[in-house]
Symmetry: D2
Subunit: 372 residues, 4 copies
């Protein structure tokens, strides 16, 4: 392994809506239990586009280094950091992945044991990078993991393309699926949205025992991947514009009763009212894609009269990262996991990656530092 | 017991918005497993007012005999009907209570085992009373229970005033509480609405292990009963008109975090958005009072970002009637259950009862046939 | 379809331990909602051997017609019987399958809603066949289904060999899996026993999201089928006789922690203590194969100190039949379901089938009436 | 507050079965996040007797300072230790209570999120007290809490007598009750054992919605307290020696069906087989009192054929301490919590306390340091 430099380049969001700038930041000393990684690959998430334009639910302070779904290769291990969260030994050169950092002290961390609800989470990529320790985002050559960060090793046999989705969409889907309590034997499942969250939710439904899976989304390239990942049916919302027509099609596919489970992974508020109308009486509805603050009119009586369970889930914790990686490891012969990565960009071309993502040309583009 | 007459008087809804008329209908022959009861008491429910004006979610065909929460005294038992649902023997003279009738044949009855979602329920009080067997509503001297009806005996020690709420609001609250999975040890619970559904939900929270119970509703008489039934705090919405102020008060009472559980029992769509804002992150929200078809704008992202469980529940089945009766039987020394009945009217004064209910002068008025 | 004869042949258990005798019984009139079927195939279950020798937990009265897992073809439909439990229309010539008959009246049927615990179930194959309606077992040309029997159609595309296991082992596994609450994402699962219950449990684990499945059983032919049905590992108890050695092997396969879930489907009491030792701390243990009354010494402290969930499940209801059939219908391209049937015998050779089953030469032998 | 001395007296177990000796140990420096407390009260647990005689499941190394259920008053707070687990500020003089210390690193702490199953817990009172930091047991004047220890404040209005049971028996019952998923509305509950674990389990059943609670135990003084804590029935096992007779009595009290829930809190292995026979078909059985390694013969088929959930639970985590304290705080006007403390001894009389406990003369004796 190369010598560790004094500074790291990073693609920095300096002003909302303006191109990221390549800047250099000092690489910090590694504290006990801290970790320094060389970034191997940093995924670009739909929410990065909102963040770029300053219209996210929670805007990061400026300037900051985006990139919250990152695979890093360990270059320095702080004292006392010997194993990953699953008990595997950690060494220089191992590839790892990590969640945001729960405070471990608040009511949600201590008493209700719902750490994703932590009142004081430290979020990677949502930090001012002029402040120590500077390098806490993935759009960089190096990234620093603070001592409280939980990490899990990426199994050796996995490529970065296969594993990168674990950093955000897949672990979110895994955590949500656990909140749901899993899919019942032979449940019919509709997934709203064909982006990474929708696609990974599809996989969990297919492998979790669904009878029929139906993905409702666009564009066609995403739906094509959905088919390769096991979807029994896809409905292209660019072609079938009328929600009532979509619902009728879904009712036809589900014996006239509607799906047992609907997973909202679309990010569109209107999907919620569409899903409430579509799910069968007595069914379950998982909400995991709503990243905006927009409102939508709904009938609360529908939730009551249909006897629904509507379950919200956001973010995830280290067990979900671990399980997502295990899932890929055991199913990689079966599904082309790497196909979620539609393009690779150098750090210097980060703006191009964001632009193509925004233009709908990508499923998941990545910053690829592997040659670096 | 008196001889059974050939005909029964009933207060009949002939035209929406017009006074009920006293009419007479033939008392039908009792089929095998059917039951004929003398109506002892028939409760008046908030939904009866909507029904009266023809603005209910589901309007009954005209003419019909209202009254879906009824205590009847058995006057004739059809062949083969020997025991109630809990295995107690049935005899002439026993008082009983009963739910709507599930078809027992549909996908929800047979496969998903969610009988309250039954696709073809036969609903008491929602039948044209010109059609055989005529007497399927409680606003009458006699009522006929069809063979498939499940029934449970009212324990001898209970008065009709204590038990009448079981027929609708209390069994609804019991079924909902089971869907919720109960109250956690020392959960803080807010109940929206101080009508019968809110009040019985309060009792279940108090007796189910809540730390703090807060009832939000009006008018004061209902809140006073809520206090007698164990509410730790009440908030009068006629006095505190601003939802934000109510929410602040609730946050003050719940360590700034909001309640662990909110139960919507108000019937007002706006309560849903108020509840979503109020419930703590990671909390649970039970929707059981929404009887209108009205819409309300909400942020779906709130359900997701707070990681909520939103659980809808409507109606109930025979186990919930049984458990509600057992609850009253075992707690009657502790709570003045009869106080829910604020007035008793003769069958001939049914219109007066409806008018006073509509005017907000009552919690639960009843048609009292006991002297008859 | 041929004309319905007046009498049906049946293989009858007249005396425990003696060969079944071929006798003839009158075919009864079909009551409203009753059904007469021509038996197409009748499976032989391990418990039939215990029954044959009069050493079952619950011995049937003599004489009786064995056969509780049967596929019948409808030859006569009683009045009012128009649809199956899933709402599909029923016609003469359809193949159906059915569970034992819950009383629908007892505390478990009505109040706790646990119909498999019904206090007064009518069990097919556990009836004296000298009593009307005589033909209530599968080892016969015709079988009569009483009016309360719930039935579900066998999908047209399924062969009898594929579907026959639904009648007992598979529906049992489905019901148990629901009691368990499903397999967690990437759980490691050990199945004790490689007979039909073990094999179908394996399928549910594989298709329900297990990481690793390990089947512990014998003889090799069953383990070979387990491999074809997706088992990742098999342990032959005829080769590894020492439970400690088996446990060590399983610990090696499960990161030294033991499996997250153990399913007991072996029928051997000693498997219970072996499983308690093997399951990981905080794991779950499903007990579904214990058909004897024998005792075994265990340490109750193991259940406590390991923080286990030990879940018993017996028999099943109509939804589980339906889901098992749907499972086969949707996965038949993937698994050789028919391989569970290792031999087919004519009704006249029923004794040979029992003898070969007892000798351990079969997985599931069947009485095959299809040519008849 | 007095000046902190250099040394603390402790009652030390030097040799199994021999009297504890009063020794002095150095009071250690308080590390960051460590806490030094003056012991106010230390409870004596049934397991201390086993420990004393060296026959516990897990024997502590010698010499050690017993006492794992302790209320301490803060005399020194390590740097960075500002709030308790519920977010309440901590100050010198506050009374606190604390669980054993999870490693926070193992598979159970990180991945399965079952911290009571932690592979490397640091247990108070199970440490050689010749090793730094010496004072990790409650039978002492001072006790030292290591930095990872989670603590919760004892509410000001509670006396030590009211709160002392939280340190072991009550938090165990709270954790177990959560594993059980609570008591269903109007469930009948039998508690086996009338020691502290049985008594606190009783309280949770009474306040959690049970219809009938029946405590089976001895001696009479404990059963008398059970009555004061709300038991509807008690069965004295010193008077009714035959388990069959006890079972019959319980069946009589539970409509012939048996209790919906049985809680084993007796510590006696034979209670397990008695409980399996007693619980109703389809019921639940919680195992929380089994502190020995002894075996007992049972029929695994009973678990299966009755369709039981048998749930083991051991120890607890900080949320359960918090909830137990909140429970006492909100119900102290209703129950004489302090009555569980049957005697108070000075540190110097610790041997007398142990002897009386062993002789069955006590429910919970305590070491009372408050005057010191």
């Amino acid at each position: 392994m190369k010598e560790i430099p004094k500074k790291s380049k990073a693609a920095v969001l300096v002003e909302y809506g303006k191109p990221l700038q390549i800047r250099e930041y000092p690489i910090p000393e590694v504290e006990p239990r801290g970790i320094l990684v060389k970034v191997e690959m940093a995924g670009i998430c739909g929410s990065d586009i909102h963040q770029w334009h300053g219209r996210a639910v929670m805007n990061a302070p400026l300037p900051n280094i985006p990139g919250h779904e990152t695979i890093g290769r360990i270059v320095k291990l702080g004292e006392g950091r010997t194993h990953d969260a699953a008990g595997e030994p950690l060494s220089i050169g191992d590839r790892i992945i990590w969640p945001h950092v729960d405070c471990g002290e608040c009511y949600w961390c201590k008493i209700t044991r719902q750490p994703t609800m932590c009142a004081k989470r430290t979020l990677y990529a949502f930090r001012c990078c002029d402040d120590y320790p500077y390098l806490m985002g993935g759009f960089a050559e190096y990234e620093y993991l603070i001592p409280k960060t939980e990490v899990v090793k990426v199994p050796d046999e996995l490529t970065e393309e296969e594993a990168i989705g674990v950093g955000c969409a897949f672990r979110t889907a895994v955590a949500a699926y656990e909140r749901l309590g899993g899919i019942g034997i032979q449940d019919d499942v509709v997934i709203q949205g064909a982006g990474p969250i929708g696609l990974y939710s599809l996989l969990l439904a297919v492998e979790g025992g669904a009878r029929k899976t139906i993905v409702v989304g666009a564009p066609q390239a995403r739906l094509d991947l959905a088919r390769r990942w096991g979807a029994h049916h896809v409905i292209n919302i660019d072609e079938i514009l009328d929600p009532t027509q979509r619902r009728d099609q879904i009712l036809d596919l589900t014996n006239g009763r509607g799906p047992d489970v609907v997973v909202e992974g679309s990010g569109v508020p209107a999907a919620f009212s569409e899903g409430l109308e579509m799910v069968r009486k007595g069914g379950r509805y998982l909400i995991i894609g709503q990243t905006t603050q927009l409102t939508i009119p709904i009938k609360p009586s529908t939730i009551m009269n249909k006897g629904l369970d509507v379950i919200g889930s956001a973010s995830a914790s280290i067990p979900h990262f671990y399980k997502a990686l295990q899932f890929i490891r055991t199913k990689r012969a079966k599904y082309p996991f790497a196909d979620v990565v539609t393009n690779k960009y150098s750090l210097e071309r980060a703006n191009e990656a964001l632009a193509n993502m925004e233009a709908g040309k990508e499923i998941k583009p990545v910053i690829d530092n592997r040659g670096r």
